[in-house]
Symmetry: C2
Subunit: 483 residues, 2 copies
């Protein structure tokens, strides 16, 4: 048998025809993509549109196949990039520029392994699309609460690898909080079966939390046991107009005191966001008659039938009006009205994308400091980039703001992005000073590695490197990501 070495753009890689044959033998032809056209979608980063190359894209159908592929790559010293729906925003799921890394897509592993309604758990494979997971729970009369913009194409394994956030974190927590157990394949191909469906288990170190959020650099998550929740019986959305981010923050405190356990979303929206949506998204319109500076999209939910959320909310709003904290509000009277309010919120990223001039920051600060951050951050941008139009919005209830901006007019084009790195540094410096995070829900990937080094202590970085080295000594799992 002739063994030829695959020519990567940067020179020879460790991928040989013998390795490719062995992988093909393991996963079958269906599981092995070698043609550029077939591979393109797996090699293109969604956010930046950059396109990478790879000798092959492997799509195993079982955990056993993942195990065998990793064993082979480990033996051959070949880097493997685990990939879910490839919807991440930090270049974490595409190969590096070497062209020598193999993409391991979980997309064929999407079975529901077990649905246990009385234990309120759902065991699914990593490649299951989030919307399908939500649907499986819903069909069983339960709720899987993880909810985010990419839910129609992102995969649950990717959600866990990146510890996804989204709009329901205030009530249900981040992705890691929604998991009881995982199955993962280690760098050398060994399978760790930690698929325990237990609410309590103190038998040694909690290994699942090590793999969750590690962005595929410590192991490949192949299946998960998810927690399900009672479906909300009552739900109510309202768009609340306020004069300032500080009023929004005070209104959040009021809501938390009055009905903390019923808040399922508390989203902040700057007026500029709505205006951008009205401009860019056909058919969108202002739900309120007058113009206000800032908004809160609030959702209350209760799984106890008969809870009068409307009465709760009306009392809340009356008190907030009396305190001059709130300027106007509209409570959705129908599900259609509620959907229309949420569509406005969900259209913001798309409207931003259309401008082609987005500078974005996914930051978090302690919840109490959100208004401070918005004031100080806005001042920085006004000073450093006068042609920027701020588009800040996000999960105020979690202290997490997507502090974004676009060009005042589209004519600016690419030149608008020139000061991006300086602005980024100034905003991250501010966030850091406030005890915050420069990546609240998006992760590190390939994009934010230098920020991790800049804002995390040498001890913390050393701990992370120690873990990486201990679990993946040959550095074959998503090499060059995170660390």
């Amino acid at each position: 048998m002739t063994n030829t070495t695959f020519k990567s753009p940067s020179g020879a890689s460790n991928v040989t025809s013998v390795l490719i044959d062995a992988i093909r033998k393991t996963v079958g032809n269906k599981g092995c993509l070698l043609e550029p056209d077939d591979m393109a979608v797996y090699l293109t980063d969604r956010r930046s549109a950059l396109v990478r190359s790879a000798p092959l894209v492997v799509r195993p159908a079982t955990t056993q196949e993942v195990s065998e592929v990793l064993r082979l790559c480990h033996e051959a010293n070949v880097g493997v990039v685990p990939q879910g729906g490839n919807t991440g925003l930090v270049e974490g799921s595409v190969p590096d520029i070497s062209g020598g890394q193999i993409v391991l897509s979980l997309s064929r592993m999407r079975s529901v392994r077990e649905l246990d309604v009385s234990n309120a758990t759902l065991t699914v494979e990593a490649g299951a699309v989030l919307a399908d997971v939500q649907r499986a729970a819903d069909d069983a009369g339960m709720l899987f609460p993880l909810s985010l913009a990419a839910e129609g194409s992102c995969q649950i394994g990717g959600n866990l690898s990146t510890n996804a956030g989204g709009t329901a974190v205030i009530r249900y927590g981040n992705a890691r909080d929604l998991v009881l157990g995982i199955e993962a394949v280690l760098s050398d191909g060994r399978i760790w079966n930690g698929l325990r469906a237990l609410r309590k288990d103190n038998t040694g170190y909690d290994l699942k939390h090590l793999f969750i959020g590690s962005e595929g650099t410590l192991g490949v998550i192949t299946a998960v046991v998810l927690k399900l929740f009672p479906k909300p019986q009552e739900q109510l959305s309202a768009l609340v107009a306020v004069a300032s981010a500080r009023d929004a923050s005070n209104f959040l405190s009021r809501c938390q005191r009055a009905c903390g356990e019923n808040i399922s979303s508390f989203e902040y929206i700057h007026r500029n966001c709505l205006e951008l949506v009205f401009e860019k998204i056909p058919g969108s319109r202002d739900p309120l008659d007058e113009v206000y500076g800032h908004y809160v999209l609030l959702e209350l939910g209760s799984s106890t039938p008969g809870t009068d959320l409307r009465a709760v909310l009306e009392t809340l709003l009356e008190e907030a009006f009396a305190a001059e904290e709130v300027e106007n509000a509209t409570i959705a009277a129908t599900i259609e009205q509620s959907n229309a309010l949420w569509k406005l919120r969900e259209d913001i990223p798309e409207a931003t994308r259309i401008t082609g001039t987005r500078i974005g920051h996914d930051v978090a600060v302690p919840v109490a400091l959100i208004a401070d951050f918005l004031e100080r951050g806005s001042a920085i941008v006004e000073r450093m980039h006068p042609s920027a139009r701020l588009i800040p919005f996000g999960h105020m209830g979690d202290g997490n703001i997507h502090f974004n901006m676009v060009a005042v007019d589209d004519a600016h084009g690419a030149s608008f992005l020139e000061p991006e790195s300086e602005i980024r540094r100034a905003i991250y410096d501010l966030v850091h000073e406030m005890g915050g995070s420069f990546s609240a829900e998006h992760g590190i990937g390939g994009l934010k590695k230098s920020d991790l080094v800049a804002y995390r202590s040498p001890v913390e970085l050393d701990l992370m490197r120690t873990l990486k080295h201990a679990l993946d000594p040959k550095n074959i799992l998503n090499p060059g990501k995170v660390l």
Copy 2:
């Protein structure tokens, strides 16, 4: 300077007079206990009453002192046993039999570093007693929900090191779910400051979850940022009598469907538990007129003022009576009545202890399998140990049962305990077969190490050993515990 080696019971240890002097210089005389009488309480295991020896007990007053002590011990290759309130149940916080390990007590580090009501966070040092933490939250009009029998003396650092459970897990989660950030000292004395008060932070590996639940074997937790919650505005307790554990389990499902988010406790109590309390605890009496086989102590809570929990519960009970799932119930009409119901539950461990013949198991299975487990476990005990009286109770809502037993009559004495290890193995085998955990909330410590080896896969054990070796290569942190 003369350097003498400390004589441990098992021979020479690495503790020298030079090391002791250096430690004394670091922590002062007040922080250094050397007299057997002073050390006794730190060297005695609460559960078993076994007494260990140590060259000294160190009580640092600051993180910096902990760091310096660990640096010295690391250099000298001396084992260090981190200790909180020393209330654990698995011999995890006392030294091993060598007599050469130093106890590091966190009990002098009990300051509140920061209370931030609008961020709903409390930053405290590891030695703060849980009841004091609860009180600090309460004084600020908030709730810190971790609640367990030892709360008057256990410390928050120990609670996190062991990922404590307790009675409010069904609503608020285990100890690890109540934490946003930690500060820990590593085996070589370096300090990791991870005291971030953020609800979202995806910047690299989640290191806090590695230290939480690792029982002091990977690092010493010195301070924590805790999540606070809105204080319940309405609360209601009821004792519900049922004919079988299965009925209790069905009643749990009914409650979860009807008012899942309002259940703050769902405790199962076998009739034998109440009888034992009536026998052993003066002044206790049956709240119901008739005798029933099994009970549920249910607590509902709501932080939304005006929620009519009584109406919710009455509807629930009516439906359960109609379905013949419930035989009788008493709803506490006053806070005194509620306290009396809870006292019965809380007296069970003490009544059991008084018998001097306890065989206990802290096990968990998937919630849906609790009734199965109780049936099959009881059959095993009836067969293997006819003179045992089953005393099963616990956190049914979490799938966690304290599957305990005492001698039918106290005359049995020590001989009753003879088949303990065989029964333990049979019960753990059953739990394992049912996908459960042999240590739901108590941990591994020194007591359950062989069980960890028996019931966890070689891959899982190897992962744990890899982590231990990576973070504590000289094996000086709580040596001989967990692994």
